[in-house]
Amino acid sequence: MQEILMQILNGLVFGMIIALVASGLTLIFGIMDVVNFAHGEFYMVGAYMGWFVIGYTQNFWLALIIAFFFVGLFGAVVEVSTLRPIRGRDPLYTLMAMFGLSVFAQQTILMIFGPIAKEVKEPLITKIPLFALEYPLYRLLIVAIAVVIFISFWFFLQKTKYGTWIRATMQDNVMASALGIPVRLVYTLTFALGCALAAASGVLVAPIFSVYQSMGLTVIVTTFIVVVIGGMGSLLGSILAAIMIGELQTVSSVLVSPTYAKIFSFLALIGVLLIRPQGLFTISKR
């Protein structure tokens, strides 16, 4: 019983991590109509960045902030150099360009840092009593940080000028452009923000899992399951679906086996595709 409770909490932590990655992915899709195939790579580069900065400064939180901004900048550069020239072409090409970036990023990291996985120490080693078990404080903190990020993200979208621009572009980019919104800037900003969120979750997850060059592929598969279940382009849907899949995978990993955990989440995906292909949590527009 205690073990299952433990796994339910772990599932929540894992779900929050996936939610951070998925919200960036779904935001980019909703606004730019780009399936960012390289999204897992921004998560991976973020984790490496975090590991690297921690190695020098021993400061986890500084690493988190640096990775967030550095990878955000990296995302902006990618958007301007790779996505902007091919905007307006068939979505096929953006998908392929991002896939190429993913190969390039993974292999470059492999070349620089080698194939051995890197370990990052937990910034907090305290355990706190919670429902009759000792739970690491750091993991609870991840949930708290993710919630803070989501709330500030919501405020950013709803209450600031840039947020309004983003929402307007999401609804109708031609109209937004006609009204004087710098749509190209919005695209760059959105892409950078989505990548930065992925990087942040990469750093947060580094002490729990290790840091390795193919971690992006592992996370992107789960993230894709989540965004399809939650409905592509729906932020709240992604967050809810992420928690659902996080719980499903973590709990069934222990109850059955990690292989079955993956199979179950795939079955969940198939189920959603058969019953509600537009996603569980989207309100149909038509």
Partner: protein
């Protein structure tokens, strides 16, 4: 292109392919066998990527299921070559029907995502279930090719090379025939303007599924040929990198040209072979070339040359 030209080219290529093992050193003979096998996979991907315009990141599953299908019939059922071939073709076809049926009625992006996810699940299953040999995979002896009146050992590289050449040419002609058939024209119509094809009355979903299943068939064939060459099936055959490389070969060679993907395969494999003498991670360079090709040369090697040629012809 008129028929005379086509046949002239065909004869040249046929002579080159048949003479290659007599001229090439052993290592390059082996490499050429591999290029032809991967070329079938690239052609198979081109049927949906180049002709219908939807992108699959799960072709490793089709390829690997073909490979495992054949390997399992050898190891578990002790079957001969022809039965293994049949099983190896049937499994990926069934898989393609399932995945295609589930995902091809929504936006293209969903199809891409679901092919990737499904392929990863298949990879996990073959990696962790002991009946499939787990991480070690399955080892088997190379079967004899039984043609009724005489038997040929496929363990001999030159024999196997000709075996592969036969299937390569067969696949090419079938794929070419398909793309030039009325059905192939509908495929291209879907790529050019899906909405219009739908409005005219074509059952878009059914055409897409048929194309994906045909693609799965030839991907499976490629997997079978590869598994016999290697004499073992391994979970790496299902790894994402194979799906990814197939996309790279197809785009660099030229989507929607059928010959292009094969040339792209040869180009990338030979370049990788060349680079590997200097660096361990030749994929860094290939990844970069790929991104540049997507932006500046989306028609690939063959498509670009063909365009130039048509342009110069229209100027005359």
């Amino acid at each position: 292109m008129n028929h005379k030209r086509f046949f002239l080219r065909l004869i040249i290529i046929l002579v080159l392919l048949l003479a290659a093992p007599l001229v090439l050193p052993k290592y390059y003979g082996q490499l050429l066998t591999e290029i032809l096998i991967w070329g079938i996979l690239a052609m198979a991907l081109d049927l949906i990527l180049g002709y219908i315009g939807i992108i699959s990141f799960g072709h490793a599953a089709l390829f690997g299921l073909g490979a495992y299908g054949a390997a399992i019939s050898f190891v578990k059922f002790g079957s001969g070559l022809w039965l293994a071939l049949a099983v190896g073709l049937l499994v990926p076809v069934v898989f393609a029907i399932g995945v295609g049926g589930l995902s091809l009625y929504i936006k293209g992006a969903y199809f891409t995502i679901i092919t990737l996810v499904a392929a990863e699940i298949v990879h996990t299953i073959f990696l962790s279930f002991p009946i499939f040999g787990g991480e070690n995979g399955l080892n088997f002896d190379v079967p004899m090719l039984n043609l009724g009146f005489f038997r040929i050992s496929l363990a001999e590289p030159v024999h196997y090379y000709y075996f592969v050449v036969f299937f390569f040419l067969l696949s090419y002609f079938i794929c070419r025939r398909i793309t030039q058939s009325p059905m192939g024209k509908v495929f291209q119509a879907l790529k050019d303007n899906e909405e219009r094809a739908k409005a005219i009355g074509y059952d878009v979903r059914r055409y897409k599924i048929v194309a994906f299943v045909i693609s799965g068939f030839f991907s499976g064939l490629s997997g079978i040929l590869y598994v016999i060459l290697q004499r073992y099936a391994n979970p790496d055959f299902l790894h994402f990198i194979i799906s990814g490389e197939a996309v790279i070969w197809t785009l660099i060679g030229g989507m929607g040209t059928l010959v292009g993907p094969v040339i792209g395969t040869a180009f990338v494999i030979l370049l990788g072979d060349l680079l590997s003498t200097w660096m361990k991670n030749h994929l860094v360079v290939i990844g970069l070339i790929f991104i540049i090709a997507v932006i500046f040369l989306p028609k690939g090697i063959v498509g670009t040359i063909r365009n130039r040629w048509l342009l110069s012809k229209s100027r005359d």
